[in-house]
C-alpha cells in the first residue's frame, strides 16, 4: 500500500535558473560537510494494524515516513483523515496520531462507520513542505 508521495505545493518544481544555481552551491557546501549518504526518496506508507479493515469498529493504523533525516522527523506534523466521496462525509471519530521519533506513527481511534468507498489521506508536513498519501478502498 506504499505510494510515492508528492508535494502538495506544485510550485516547488518551478525553480528559476538563478535560484537553481544558488541551490547547487548550497548542495555542494552541504555535501562537503556530510559523509556520503545513499540517496533515499521521501515516502509515506500507511496500513491498518489489522488484517481486515473492520466495519464500524475502532481500530488503529500505522503510518511510516521515510527519506527524511531523524532531526526533521521530530518536527514533522502527521495528519490522518478519511472520507466517503460519494456521501460527502468523513469518519465518525477524530483519530489521534502517536509516536514521532523514528518516523513510525500509530494512528488510534479510526472507525469507518459505513460500507462503501473510502479514501484515506495521510498528510505529512516536514521542513515546511506538505506531502500526502491517498489510499482508496471499498469496505
Amino acid at each position: 500500500m506504499s505510494l510515492r508521495s508528492r508535494p502538495r505545493d506544485m510550485s516547488v518544481y518551478r525553480i528559476c535558473p538563478m535560484r537553481m544555481a544558488l541551490l547547487s552551491l548550497v548542495f555542494i557546501q552541504v555535501s562537503a560537510c556530510r559523509p556520503a549518504e545513499k540517496a533515499q526518496s521521501f515516502s509515506i506508507h500507511a496500513e491498518p494494524s489489522v488484517n481486515t479493515i473492520p466495519l464500524n469498529q475502532l481500530h488503529d493504523w500505522i503510518v511510516n515516513v521515510s527519506g527524511v533525516p531523524d532531526v526533521a522527523l521530530r518536527e514533522a506534523e502527521i495528519q490522518f483523515d478519511a472520507r466517503m466521496p460519494e456521501h460527502g462525509h468523513g469518519m465518525s471519530t477524530s483519530p489521534i496520531v502517536q509516536g514521532k521519533d523514528q518516523g513510525s506513527y500509530l494512528v488510534r481511534g479510526v472507525r469507518f462507520n459505513m460500507p462503501g468507498k473510502w479514501v484515506v489521506t495521510v498528510s505529512a508536513t516536514v521542513e515546511g513542505r506538505s506531502y500526502h498519501f491517498d489510499k482508496s478502498f471499498e469496505l
Binding site: 466495519l55 464500524n56 475502532l58 460519494e86 456521501h87 460527502g88 462525509h89 468523513g90 469518519m91 465518525s92 471519530t93 477524530s94 483519530p95 489521534i96 488510534r108 481511534g109 472507525r111 462507520n113 459505513m114 460500507p115 462503501g116
Partner: protein, 402 residues
C-alpha cells in the same frame, strides 16, 4: 506447460450456468449482508462504565425504579410514562409534552455507545439520570432521588450497591411518594460533604435502570427467519413474499438503506445528517451534544464510572468537528418499528411511507443541501415494496427472567 483441453473449461462454464440458475437469488455479497442483519448475529457489547449492567439483582431493582412514579415531583411520572411497554417503549407522540425530540425505543439501546438522538450521553445509566432532573419530566433533585431510594428501596439498594449515605445528606427533603417536593436542589451542592455520596447513589439509580433495560430484547421476526434460510443457502424460502423480497433487494441495493441501517439492530449507532435540518430549526443535533458529553461528570471518564480511563475509547476519539455534526442525528434501529411511529428525531413522519419518500426524492431537492445521503430514485411500486419489507422487521420485545 501442459496443454489445456478445450473441453475442461467448457464443462466448468456449463456447470456454473447450471448452478447459478438453481441457486439463491442473492449474490454471495448480498447473502452475507442479509445474514449479517439477523438478530441471531447480535453480540452483546460490554458496558464498561457500569459494573452492574448484567447483575440480575441490579436489574430487578432497576425494574422497580423504571416503573416507579415516586421518582417524580408530582408522583405521577415514571420512565414508563414515555417509554410505554405496549408501544415498544415509545409513546406514539411526535414529541413528548415540553420536549423537542421523539421518544426512541430503549430495547437494544445498550448496544449503542451513544444515547439520545444527539448522543449527549455515553451510557444507558447516564441517559437514565437526565430525565430524572429534567424540569419537564421527573423534575427531581439528586437529593430527592436519594430520599426516595432511602424510604422505599433501602434494603434492596444496599444489598446491591452497599450502604446509603448518612441521612443528613438528604434529610431536608420529603421523599413521600406523591408528595410535592421542595425547591429543586439540582446537584445537592449545598449539602457540604455530601455531594459525592449523593451523586454516587444517583449514578447507581441509573446503573440499576440500565441493568433492567439491558434485560429487554427484541423478538425474532419473519425477516430473521428468512435471513437464516438465506445463510443456509435455501432457495425455496417462502418466509417472505415476493414483494417483501423485492423490498429487501432495494434495502440492500439501490436504496442504500443498509449503508447506515446495518448489523442485527439495523443501525450503525452513529450520527448522520439526512436532510432534516431545515425543519429542525435550531436543533443542531450532534453538533450541540459533543461538548455536553465530553464535560458530563457522569460520562465514562467521570468519578462515577466503573471504567478505567483508557477504556473510554468512544469519548477519547469522539468526533468534535462541528460542520460534519451539524443537524446529524443518530441512526435509529428499525426493529419493532411498526409500533414506534411516528418517526425521525422530531417525529415529523407519521408513516413509514413518508419516511421512505423523504429519502426517495430527486437530486434537485433540498435533501442534498446538508445530507450524508446520496439521492435515491424509487418508483411508487418500489416505495411500497420497501415499506412492505420494513414491516417484516416488526416485532414485540421480551424481558429476561429476573
Amino acid at each position: 506447460m501442459r496443454p489445456v483441453s478445450p473441453v475442461g473449461p467448457l464443462c466448468i462454464s456449463l456447470s456454473l450456468i447450471s448452478c447459478s440458475s438453481s441457486t439463491s437469488p442473492w449474490s454471495d455479497r448480498e447473502a452475507m449482508t442479509i445474514a449479517s442483519l439477523s438478530l441471531d448475529r447480535l453480540e452483546t457489547n460490554g458496558a464498561t462504565s457500569n459494573k452492574y449492567a448484567f447483575d440480575p439483582k441490579a436489574a430487578q431493582l432497576g425494574r422497580l425504579f423504571f416503573y416507579s412514579t415516586a421518582f417524580s415531583s408530582t408522583g405521577t411520572m415514571s420512565c414508563a410514562t414515555c417509554h410505554v411497554p405496549d408501544r415498544n417503549f415509545t409513546d406514539s407522540r411526535s414529541t413528548p409534552a415540553g420536549g423537542t425530540r421523539n421518544t426512541p425505543t430503549i430495547v437494544g439501546a445498550g448496544q449503542s455507545p451513544w444515547q439520545f438522538w444527539d448522543g449527549r450521553q455515553d451510557s444507558l445509566w447516564a441517559q437514565a439520570l437526565e430525565p430524572l432532573e429534567s424540569a419537564v419530566e421527573h423534575n427531581m433533585s439528586r437529593g430527592d432521588v436519594v430520599g426516595v431510594v432511602a424510604l422505599l428501596y433501602r434494603d434492596t439498594y444496599e444489598s446491591v450497591f452497599g450502604e446509603l449515605p448518612s441521612r443528613h445528606c438528604f434529610s431536608s427533603i420529603n421523599p413521600a411518594p406523591g408528595a410535592k417536593f421542595g425547591p429543586k436542589d439540582r446537584a445537592t451542592n449545598s449539602l457540604q460533604g455530601c455531594q459525592r455520596a449523593v451523586n454516587g447513589v444517583f449514578a447507581n439509580v441509573g446503573k440499576a435502570i440500565e441493568a433492567y433495560v439491558r434485560s429487554l430484547s427484541w423478538e425474532r421476526t419473519r425477516f430473521d427467519q428468512y435471513a437464516q434460510e438465506v445463510r443456509q443457502g435455501r432457495v425455496d424460502s417462502r418466509v417472505l413474499n415476493s414483494a417483501e423480497v423485492a423490498g429487501l433487494r432495494i434495502f440492500v441495493g439501490k436504496g442504500s438503506c443498509v449503508s447506515c441501517h446495518f448489523g442485527p439492530l439495523l443501525s450503525n449507532h452513529d450520527f448522520h445528517a439526512t436532510g432534516l435540518a431545515a425543519a429542525s430549526g435550531q436543533d443542531l443535533g450532534r453538533a450541540s451534544a459533543i461538548k455536553l458529553v465530553l464535560d458530563n461528570p457522569f460520562n465514562c471518564k467521570g468519578l462515577y464510572s466503573d471504567a478505567s480511563e483508557d477504556a473510554c475509547a468512544e469519548l477519547a476519539y469522539a468526533r468534535t468537528d462541528f460542520q460534519e455534526s451539524y443537524a446529524a442525528f443518530k441512526t435509529p434501529t428499525l426493529r419493532g418499528l411498526v409500533h414506534t411511529a411516528p418517526y425521525a428525531h422530531d417525529g415529523r413522519f407519521q408513516t413509514l411511507e413518508e419516511v421512505v419518500r423523504h429519502y426517495a426524492r430527486d437530486a434537485e431537492s433540498d435533501l442534498l443541501a446538508h445530507s450524508d445521503v446520496p439521492p435515491i430514485q424509487l418508483s411508487n411500486d418500489e416505495v411500497a415494496q420497501l415499506v412492505m419489507f420494513l414491516h417484516t422487521l416488526d416485532s414485540g420485545w421480551k424481558e429476561m427472567r429476573l
